[in-house]
Point group: C2
Chain length 245, copies 2
């Protein structure tokens, strides 16, 4: 058995997220079908984590064990041959037997795209979150630094989550401007459910002046979801990188 690692890009617009579901089209199911058609095996495909409906991936990572004699680095061509245009295997390689896309991951990086312009863009409806009201980039860029470090992020987790440990470490939290786009990049040891989208919703309310720009430390400390901003929509979110040791 060979352990195969895949690096996958997908446009999440037309999928009900990553995770396999009985009555909906998901990225995981579509990949499993393509692998089955490509090499005749129906693998247990382990993803680094779920992504919600409408969320995109620039480099999701998954692995599966295979007895196929297709060389690991050629596997991408065989699978891509059976994938629709909105899912693409960027790379395939052999990894040690104990590599597990979810449990071996040590860091993840997400990107979130905001379009801050008076008019929406017909070309970015599914690829960025349009905010028509002018945002203070400076206040948001300054505030986003307060997420750095190790914190209990209960206030930035969707209610109803089943996790018990809300502590995560944030290694990178940066905002940059690219024309009318505001792009947020965040790297962390892991992320709670909806965490990045709640961070963005909070930063946007800071950019509008609804939440004070120095409020993040006290929102984190308060551990109260209601004190953070609203959950920003999925279409601006991209899983950008998954890091392994």
């Amino acid at each position: 058995m060979t352990n195969i690692k895949l690096v996958i890009a997908y446009d999440g617009t037309n999928y009900h997220g990553w995770q396999s579901q009985a009555n909906a089209v998901t990225v995981q199911d579509t990949l499993v079908s393509a692998i089955y058609r490509g090499i005749g095996e129906k693998p247990i495909l382990i993803g680094s984590g779920r992504t919600d409906a409408g969320v995109h991936a620039i480099a999701q990572v998954a692995n599966f064990h295979s007895e196929s004699d297709v060389p690991p680095d050629k596997m991408k061509y065989v699978i891509n041959a059976y994938l629709p245009n909105d899912i693409h295997v960027m790379d395939s390689s052999q990894v040690p037997d104990d590599f597990h896309a979810q449990f071996s991951a040590v860091r993840k990086e997400y990107m979130y795209k905001i379009l801050n312009a008076p008019d929406p863009s017909v070309f970015h409806t599914n690829y960025a979150y349009w905010v028509g009201r002018r945002l203070s980039f400076e206040d948001m860029a300054c505030a986003c630094k307060d997420f750095l470090g190790e914190h209990d992020f209960s206030a930035f987790c969707a209610t109803g989550s089943k996790v018990t440990d809300f502590t995560r470490r944030i290694f990178r939290s940066e905002l940059e401007k690219d024309g009318d786009f505001i792009i947020y990049t965040v790297q962390g040891s892991g992320f709670l459910y909806n965490m990045v989208r709640i961070i963005i919703g909070t930063l946007i309310e800071i950019g509008m002046g609804k939440i004070p720009k120095d409020a993040i430390p006290s929102i984190i400390k308060g551990k109260d979801r209601r004190k953070a901003g609203r959950t920003a929509p999925p279409q601006g979110l991209y899983l950008k990188n998954v890091y392994y040791e």
Copy 2:
């Protein structure tokens, strides 16, 4: 009666082109419905010209005569309220009575996006033409200058066209690189059917070395469609500007 000019952006992916059709969803029909719902008039909406299925517009221009008392510059909000996310009126204004979006146009500008990378991008399937084989940007950039000036472009017109005068003047013909994208911008007095897409198909074959880089003048002179390259697909094409006096 007030003559209203609209500047319209649209993502052409889900439309059977601009022009009204009996059994298909088109951009023109969708706009006419939105105007009807917004101001209660079913106008004769004149576009600057057709765009094919899958072709996009950054700034298509159209006009219609109206008796509505909605101020011309506010008309965009009323219409946008009834448009889907992939069509957006960027601007509305009053123009002289004799302004005609098609006949008053003196120049048009198109853009064409090529993605030249080993792997396709899941995010650009409908927004650029992916060419996996490495293209010589230099040869293409050099060759594209030969389209400048006034020529009979019969060789760059889809066969079966009903026009009789194939002469057009090209004012601008430029290729630029933006990361893995090659972006072509062309401005002319007018364009024949499929002309930009055939120009691109020809430039791509020059970039691959299949057509010599100095062949454009003789292809133009030969007036033979078969000597030019293949018609590039619609999704890379954007109507960028329409100019009036």
